[in-house]
Symmetry: C2
Subunit: 508 residues, 2 copies
Amino acid sequence: MSTPISNLRERLAELEDLRSAAAVLSWDQEAMMPPEGGAQRAEVLATLERIRHQQFISADTGRLLDAAAAAVDGTDGDSDEACLVRVVSRRWNKLRQVPPELVADEARAASIGREAWIDARRRGDFSAFAPYLKHNLELKRRYVDCFDEFECAYDALLDDYDPRMQSSEVARLFAQLKAELTPLAAELARHQLDDSCLHGHCSTGRQRRLVEKVLALIGFDRRRWRLDDAVHPFATGVGAGDVRITTRWHESYFPAALFGAMHEYGHGLYEAGVDGSLRRTPLGHGASLSVHESQSRMWENMVGRGREFSRVLAPLVAQAFAGPLQDLDADTLYRAINRVHPSLIRVEADEVTYGLHVILRFELEQELLEQRLEVDDLPEAWNARIGEYLGLEVPDDKHGVLQDVHWSAGLIGYFPTYALGNMIAGQLWGQVHDELPDLDEQVEAGELDGLRSWLVERVHRHGAKFTTSELLERVTGCPIRVEPFVDYLQTKLSRVYGISLNPQEKNQ
Amino acid sequence: MSTPISNLRERLAELEDLRSAAAVLSWDQEAMMPPEGGAQRAEVLATLERIRHQQFISADTGRLLDAAAAAVDGTDGDSDEACLVRVVSRRWNKLRQVPPELVADEARAASIGREAWIDARRRGDFSAFAPYLKHNLELKRRYVDCFDEFECAYDALLDDYDPRMQSSEVARLFAQLKAELTPLAAELARHQLDDSCLHGHCSTGRQRRLVEKVLALIGFDRRRWRLDDAVHPFATGVGAGDVRITTRWHESYFPAALFGAMHEYGHGLYEAGVDGSLRRTPLGHGASLSVHESQSRMWENMVGRGREFSRVLAPLVAQAFAGPLQDLDADTLYRAINRVHPSLIRVEADEVTYGLHVILRFELEQELLEQRLEVDDLPEAWNARIGEYLGLEVPDDKHGVLQDVHWSAGLIGYFPTYALGNMIAGQLWGQVHDELPDLDEQVEAGELDGLRSWLVERVHRHGAKFTTSELLERVTGCPIRVEPFVDYLQTKLSRVYGISLNPQEKNQ
C-alpha cells in the first residue's frame, strides 16, 4: 500500500542506490582501477552526482517531503519516519540552492584532483598540485556563495560533514584542547620510552596475516567485509552486507597497517550497524563524520592501543614475526605503541600530538577559504606552523602539506571532525565503562562482543537520525566535551610512562 | 559551440557514463563484492538501468536525434556522425516501446539470478535454480511482447546482441556448420592423440605468473588493464584506459586459465581499440557480440593454439612448470592443446565440438522461449541432446545445464554469437593472412604488433558504426560464411593429427 512515507522512501531509495554506485566507483578508483582510467572515471562520477542532485532537489522530492511531513505531524519526533522527514527536509532546503552543474564540477574535480595528488605526492612536488587545490577552493567558494543561512563561509562546509556544527563551537573546543595537549606533549617529551620493538623489517605477507587474524578476532566477517590496499586508507559503506576497508603497509613499521586497519574497521562497523529500517535512506549512515571518527579512533586507540588488548595482541605479534619479536611481552608492546613524540605525519601521530595536526589544518583551511592565505604560500605557512606546534622541521612537502588526500578531493571543512571524534570517543569510552563494568576483563580475554553490542545499541543503529549533539546527549547526557578525552589520555599515559600526569587519576 | 551533433553527443555521453558505472558494478559483483552484498547490488543495478533507459527513451532524446538526423542528412553515410544517428535512432525506436519498470525488473533479476546460479551450480542443484530461470524467461517474453517489428520472438532478443541478425539466418548457418562439424568430430574420434603433458598439478601461483607473462607479451598493459579471478570468466570495457579481464584456475589443467585469459584478452583488445572519437557514445564498443567473439576466439585459438605461437609458448610453459614439463617441445604442446574429443563443458571444448555445444543451446533457448519446452524438463532435454550430439552421458547438472552463467543473468539469445564468432574469426584470419603474408613468421617470433594493428585498423576502431554484415563486407568483401572457418579447422587438424582431412589443403 502506498503512503506518503512509503512514497518518500521509494524516491530516497533510488537516490541511495546512486550514492551506493558512486561509493563503489570511488572505492574502485582508489583500490582497483588501472591508472589510465582516471579521466573517464571523473566524468562518470560527475554524471552520477549530477543526476542524484537533480533528482534530490526536484520539486517532486519537495512534494513528497511535504506530504510526508503532514503525515508525521504530531507523532513521536524520535521515530524513524519523523527523523527521516526532519533530516531530509533540512538537507533538501540547503541543497536546492546549489546548481547541478556545480555539483558535477565538484565531483569531477575531486576525482581528477585525487589522481593529481597521488602523482604530486609521489614526486613531492607541491607546485604540480597547486592548480588543483586552487580549483577546488574556487569551487568551494562558489558552493558557499549559494547560501545565506550560515554565520560564516566555513560553517556551510562543516555542516556537510557534521550537520548543524558551527566553526565558533569548534574553535572554542579546539582552544581548550590545544591548551591541554601542548603542555602534555611538552611534559612527555622530557621522558624517554623505548619503542624499538616496533621498528624493523616485517614482510607485507606476514603483516597481512597478522592484520587478518586481528580483524577476524574483533568481528571482521568475510561474507560482509573486504580488506584491500590503498595509498590513503579509508572505509566505504557500500550498503547492507557490503563494507570495505583499506590499509597500507610499511615494511619497516608494522603498526601502521595494523592500527590503520583497526581504525577503518571502526568506521566499517558503524556503517554495518545501522538498523535495517534505515537502509536505502539518507539516514542509513553515521550521524556525522565526527561520530564516525569517534568509532574509528576508539577501535584504533582505546581498544587497539589499550592495556587490555595488548595482552591479546602481543602473542599474535610474537607469532607473526617470530625471530626478533618472539619474546615480545604485552607490557613492552603496550608502552611502545603508546609512545608520545612529535612527528610529521598525522595518521601516524600519537594520541596527544594528533590533535595539534588537526588544529593546524582547521586554521589553514579557514585562511585559505577566506583568502587570507594564498595557495602558493601554503607550504611555507604549513612548515612554519609545524615548527610552532610540534617543534619540527618539515624536510619536504611529501612529509608536509602533501600528506593528506582530503584537499585534493575537495574535502575542505572535514578535518575538524577528526579531533571532535577523539573527544566523542573519550566520552563514549567513559560511558561504556560505566555501563559495562567488566569491559576491561572482556577485552583482555579477547571478547569484543560486549563492546560491539553496546555500540550498535547506543550509537550505530540510529544511523543519521540525530545530530552529533543530540546523539551525545542521548547516550552520555552531555554535549560534546574535551575533559573526558583529556582525562583518558592523562590516565593512560601516566601508566605508560610510570609518572603522574593527573592529580585525580581515574580507573578508565 | 553547440550543434545538433554536439547536443546529441552530450546527452549520449551521460548515458554512457551510467553504462560505465553499471559495468564497474557488475564486474565488482563477480570479482570483488562480499557475498552478502548481492541483494542490495541488485537494487542498485536496477535503479541505474531504469534511469538510463528512462533518459534514453525520453522525448528529449528523440528531439536531439531528429535535429541531428537533419544535420547529417545528405552527408557521407559512413561518417561517425551519420552512423551515430543511424544506429542510435534504430535503438531508440526499439527501446522506447519497453517500459522502464521492465528494464529495472530485468536488471534486478539478472543480478539476483547470477547469485542464485553460483550457489546452485556449486551444489549441482538445478531445482534451486529453476525458479530464477522461469522468472527470467517470463521477463524475456514480456520484453518480446513489447515489439511487433520482428519475425519471431527470438529475433527480438538476438537483435540486442547482434543488431539486425535473424534467427532464420542463424539456423541456416548452423545447419551448414553442424553438417561439417559432426563428421569431422567423428573422424577425429577414431584417432588417438596424447595430451598428457597438459594434465598434472600446477600451482595457481605458477600459472598466474605464466599467464601474466604471456599476456604482457601479447599486449596487456598494466596502466590500462586488470586481470582478476571469476567463477565464469568475462571481459569488461569500463571505458578509455580501463579494460578488465578475468580467468579461472584449474590446479590440474593449466590450459584453462591460460587460454581463458587469452580469450578474454581478445575481447578486451576490441574494447580498447575503438577510436577515441566514438568514446562516451553507444558506438564506443564492439559492432556485435558475434564480432566480439571473433576477436576472443582468434586470440584464444588461432593465435594461442596456433602452430607458430606454440613455439613461443612452449619454452614459457617449460620454464613455469619446471620438473615434469621442463623438456616440453613446441610440437608436443601444439598437438596436445589441439586434441579434439567430445567433452561436457563448453568453455573447455575443442574447436570442433565447441560449435555443437552452441547449437544445442540455440535450439533449447528457442524451445524454452516459445514454451515448447518447460524449464522443469530442461535437464532431461539437455542431457538427451548431449548424448545425441556428442555421444556423452551427463553425470550431474553442474557438468550439464548449470555450467553457463548466461541464462541466470537473463542473457537469452546470446549463445549463437559464440559460434557466429568462430565463423567470423575464420574469415578475418584468412583475410589478415592475405594482407600480411609474413604474419606467421611474426607470430613465431613473438611479435604480435602487426596483427594487433591490423585488427585495430580494420575492425576495432569502427566500434559499433556498422552491423556484423556491413563490417564483414567492408573487411573481407563477403557476408558471414561457414567455409573459411571449416577450411581453417581442416587444415590445422590435418597437421595436428598427421592425416588429410581436406582434399584441397591450403596454407592458412
